[in-house]
Every structure is written in C-alpha cells, then in structure tokens.
Amino acid sequence: MLNVAVSQGTDMGELRLSCGRAAADVAQTLDAIEEHLGATGTTEAEALQLRLVAEEIITNIARCAWPEGEPAQFTVEVASAALAQGVAVRLTTIDNGAPFDPTAQDPPDMDEPLEMRALGGLGMFLVREMTDRQSYRRASGQNWFSVERVFARK
C-alpha cells in the first residue's frame, strides 16, 4: 500500500537532497525540508511535525548507518500531493549503510517509572506514531525507508 495517497493526488512538487553525516549537513537538509513543506500547502504546525519525523530518521542514518568517522552521503526525498481529503506528504530516505529496519524496533515501555525510562530509543517510536504509514525494504545494498502522512482539510 506504500505511496498510495501521494501517487493518487495532484503532484505538488518533489524535493530531492543529498545529505552528509555532519550535524551541519543534517540541519541544512531539515531546514530545506521545512521550507519546501511550507511552500506546498502544509501549515507551519504541520511542517514542524514533519520536520520532527525527518529529524529522527535523518539523524539516525547520519549517526548510525556507517562506522563512526566514515564519510558518506545519503538521499532524502520529499513528495507532496493535493488530495480531495487533504495534503499528503511522503518522506523517503535511501542509504547504503548497515541494514536497519526502523519498522522492526520495539516500542518503549510506557509503564516504567522515571528511574527506569531509557534515555534513548524514542526517535523511531515518534516517527511511527506521527505518520500514517511506514515502509522499509532492503534492495541493491540500500535501505529504502518511506513514511507518509495525510493532513486532512475540510
């Protein structure tokens, strides 16, 4: 069912970026995504929600997909489409790092007391909860991860 909403709508533009691993590269990519979304019919609040999703995914790739210190580039794509029911946005990342399926991560244990709650491991859980659809595949030695979110309009 991947990409259904975006492919069925009226194309509102696509953004394709190459991102490096440095924090400055990641920040620049996130700024570009937020700016692009602002120009494709999402509200400021919606663009910020998707920036958060993008931050979690992209930061994780930049930090963890390759051994520390190894330079690498990966691809980030954002596609938007106007649907009858709202604005659909799809974010896709493609990297040739270590195989990693973000959809296969365990959710955090919400019932743990403060002392026990882990400091990490929340990013991919936020991604899952803040998007409508997630899809992962490993192909041609690359991780392909897509998330999709439809923002309803009256």
């Binding site: 924090a23 990641v26 920040a27 609040a45 910020l48 929600q49 920036r51 958060l52 931050e55 979690e56 930061t59 955090p108 919400m110 743990e112 007391p113 403060l114 002392e115 709650r117 400091l119 990490g120 929340l122 990013g123 859980f125 936020l126 909860e129 803040m130």
Partner: protein, 111 residues
Amino acid sequence: MDVTIETKGEVLVQRLHGRLDTLTSPQAEGTLTAEVKRGKRVAFDMNAVAYVSSAGLRVVLMAAKLAKSSAGAMVLFGLQPAVREVFAISGFDRVVTIREDEPAALAALAA
C-alpha cells in the same frame, strides 16, 4: 536555544526560548541539568518552545532523573499543543510533572 533564569523565592524559573532538537540539545543539556543536579527546585517555562524532538526529550528526562536523585524537584509548564503531543506520545507526561502555567508550577514545587 536561549535560557534565562529567574529566582522566585526558593524556586528557580528557567525560561527556554527556541527549539530543543538534535542541534541545540547538547548545549542545552548543560544549562538545563546544572541546577537540578545541585538539588534546586526548578520550573522550566516552555511557552517559547515550539519544537521538541527526541533529542530534547532526552535532556528533559535526564534533568528529571537528576532532580529525583539529587532530592531536587522539576516541573514543566506552558507547553505548546504540538510539544504537549510529543510528551504524550512518548509517555513522558507520566514520568515528568507538567503544569498548565507558572502559578500552578510554582504551587507544585512549593508542595
């Protein structure tokens, strides 16, 4: 991320301005944990924070843990709806004390 500090009796109010994300959290970590680490009673004013990612949640959780282990106390107030949602999704609203506004936060810290 800028943080200004006000003293209100026994309580410190740390007012955060800006985004708490991957880029700003490493620096914010020092500022936001310094007082709770010393056992102070601290209220974090979140009114001017429009964005908190998992990197920011991590700093908040760290501050809450330090407050507890140092016999201090920590309360957040003035969370914007989008930020509040991130706290709810992550379940942090169950382990961190959150109040609507400053008077409620100060009251919680006085209790």
